[in-house]
């Protein structure tokens, strides 16, 4: 393959719920105070693109949609080795559901022209739907491989394995294709010093950085504003409520002699008619 593959990796900035900052005692997230991070699933997608470029050459363009702070994840992706970035940022995108988000990202991929492979994470940790990837593939009218674990390209054909319930499916297709990468795929390599150094230099030169990571609007990519945001979303969140707490009913065994506590516990399970007996060998 002469010029390698043109790859778009779609990444998202999500709240970091593993950190205490911005996580309320009831488990809800205060997005303004929460730490932000690259959606962890997207790192596996970026790694697949990096591996593909290492074997076949080509260009990795990271794409994100979100408010201006989402620039941070694009910069971080450059440190990991992406070649360029695009941030689709437009107030009219606010409150987009998966269908509207997929439309906007599809228009962005088309705007990039001649993308061979689109990589996405399997899902995000905040939306948690896994829908956007396949919805983009549908609009692009390309093949998709979701839950992808391994992938290589041989003679211009993509050979990939995908997780299915109860096993693995081995598939073959050709670009253009969209691949959503599972979090059991190979982990993202460490940042290379040269990339980190390059990004450090870039961040001191606003004009150069703006060339490397372009901020685009709906108008730039030719997306119809009525198909994104509230207007373009066929779903809305009607109501939210807290999951009921069942606290306090746990029978806790915490004495000094573990074997005795275990005996008490198992006997309690046995005496309370929980139907466990029939499954003990």
């Amino acid at each position: 393959m002469g010029n390698g593959y043109k790859m778009a990796v779609l990444i998202k900035q999500v709240p970091d719920t593993s950190s205490a900052a911005g996580v309320n005692p009831d488990g809800t997230v205060d997005r303004a105070r929460a730490k932000r991070m690259i959606n962890p699933f997207d790192k596996y997608a970026l790694q697949k693109a990096i591996e593909t470029r290492a074997s076949h050459g080509g260009e990795i363009i990271v794409v994100s949609m979100g408010p201006p702070p989402a620039m941070e994840v694009l910069v971080e992706a450059l440190e990991y080795g992406a070649d360029a970035g695009y941030l689709l940022s437009d107030r009219r995108l606010a409150a987009s559901d998966t269908l509207a988000t997929a439309y906007a990202l599809y228009k962005t991929v088309v705007y990039l022209k001649d993308v061979d492979i689109v990589f996405t994470g399997l899902q995000t940790t905040d939306g948690d739907t896994a829908q956007t990837g396949p919805q983009i593939a549908e609009r692009l009218d390309v093949a998709q491989i979701t839950y992808c674990e391994t992938m290589e390209i041989v003679d211009g054909r993509i050979h990939a394995s995908r997780i299915i319930d109860g096993g693995i499916q081995k598939l073959e297709t050709a670009p253009p294709a969209l691949i959503t990468v599972a979090n059991s795929a190979s982990r993202l390599e460490h940042k290379k010093f040269t990339n980190v150094h390059m990004v450090k230099k870039l961040s001191r030169d606003k004009a150069e950085m703006e060339k490397r990571i372009r901020v685009v609007t709906l108008d730039d990519i030719g997306a119809e504003p009525e198909r994104v945001g509230l207007l373009g979303s066929p779903t809305v969140v009607g109501k939210t409520w807290k999951l009921g707490e069942k606290g306090g009913s746990c029978k806790l065994f915490k004495g000094d002699k573990p074997s005795h506590e275990v005996e008490l516990l198992v006997n309690a399970v046995a005496s309370e008619g929980r139907g466990v007996e029939e499954f003990v060998l």
């Binding site: 919805q135 306090g248 029978k251 275990v262």
Partner: protein, 350 residues
């Protein structure tokens, strides 16, 4: 006759074996259908389906639309997409609601169908209901109004201890995928009868862009998590991948058992993703769930809190898992797990 169209359930089958989610979707669909006074139609796709259409009738479908063609012997996105869309488009009007499993099949297929119809799709629901909705949007006046008998697609909202009700009454079918183990399955009734309609689908060359080279079924003797009656799961508290030896060893004392894990253990590379229980893994509802070294973060909890009996082992008495487990032991799992194994044998073995 109802003013609403029917409810469609897309059957989830692998190698002519209906997955448990299919019966759960049919159970939920029948409950919704009764509220709307409509019928439940199942769509099943595959090859040499044999008695499967009849099984669907016995398990809650009022009619079954069958696409039984060699091209569908193995699931691929594009062939199943073509077949499902063709069947739905053969109906006079779009169904009121369409449901899929939130399985590796449903999560692959449903978004393509929803995108094709430009309709809403809610992922990974744990409850489904019917109700009214008043939309008071200022930004989108074209949608404002009161809508009756909408699908309430209810799902835990991300990594948070909230549930959200998602609505999309503006366009039919209103679509949702549901997690395995969350909905109550239809109670099989072999006296039920219903119409079985064979549909022949015309594929296009482009539907075969992805070829299945090989399908490898799980070779391990570990039972599928979803079907397991007893699940022993390990978390970050195991301290390393070798900890899963202890988990498996405890699981070995139970029939129909499987090994699960928390997300942290999967993310640490200690065990494959297929074992992950929780919001971004599988939802399970075994008779017995034993959690070893799992703190019980909300992300894990939503995947297993409906288990019949939950036993938690954790060093930290304040771990959230003790908030919702039925029984807990505070201690070192490496001491406790082998003791649990012996005690279960001693107290309960037949």
């Amino acid at each position: 006759m109802s003013q609403y169209e029917d409810i469609v359930v897309i059957a989830d089958q692998i190698q002519n074996d209906l997955r448990p989610i299919t019966f759960e979707l049919l159970g939920a669909a029948q409950t919704l259908a009764a509220k709307l006074d409509v019928k439940v139609r199942a769509i099943v796709m595959g090859h040499n389906l044999g008695s499967i259409p009849q099984d669907l009738i016995h398990n809650g479908a009022d009619s079954v639309y069958v696409v039984d063609q060699p091209e569908l012997a193995e699931y691929t996105t594009l062939t199943y997409r073509r077949a499902a869309i063709s069947v739905i488009e053969s109906f006079e009007r779009p169904p009121h609601i369409a449901l899929c499993g939130a399985t590796t099949l449903g999560r692959d297929l449903a978004p393509r169908i929803a995108s094709h119809f430009e309709t809403g799709l809610t992922a990974d629901c744990t409850e489904l209901d019917i109700g009214d909705y008043e939309h008071k949007g200022k930004a989108d006046p074209s949608k404002t109004g009161t809508y009756n008998n909408c699908l309430y697609a209810i799902r835990p909202s991300f990594g948070e201890s909230l549930k959200a009700r998602i609505l999309g009454p503006w366009k039919n079918p209103q679509m949702a995928t549901a997690r395995t183990g969350a909905l109550i399955p239809f109670v099989t009734d072999t006296t039920r009868t219903g119409r079985i309609v064979a549909i022949k689908v015309k594929f296009e060359e482009s539907d075969f862009r992805v070829k299945v080279i090989e399908t490898v079924r799980a070779v391990s003797d570990a039972l599928d998590l979803i079907r397991a009656k007893v699940i022993v799961s390990g978390g970050f508290g195991l301290g390393g991948p070798e900890g899963f030896d202890v988990v498996s060893d405890l699981a070995s004392v139970f029939k129909e058992s499987a090994v699960g894990s928390s997300r942290k253990a999967v993310d640490s590379g200690w065990i494959p993703y297929s074992h992950q229980v929780g919001q971004t893994g599988k939802t399970v509802r075994p008779v017995l769930y034993i959690a070893l070294g799992i703190s019980g973060a909300i992300q894990h909890r939503v995947g297993m809190s409906n288990s019949g009996t939950i036993i938690a082992v954790n060093k930290d008495e304040k771990a959230p898992i003790f908030q919702f487990a039925h029984y807990g032991i505070v201690g070192d799992l490496y001491d406790i797990a082998p003791m649990l194994k012996e005690q279960f044998k001693k107290s309960m073995a037949s």
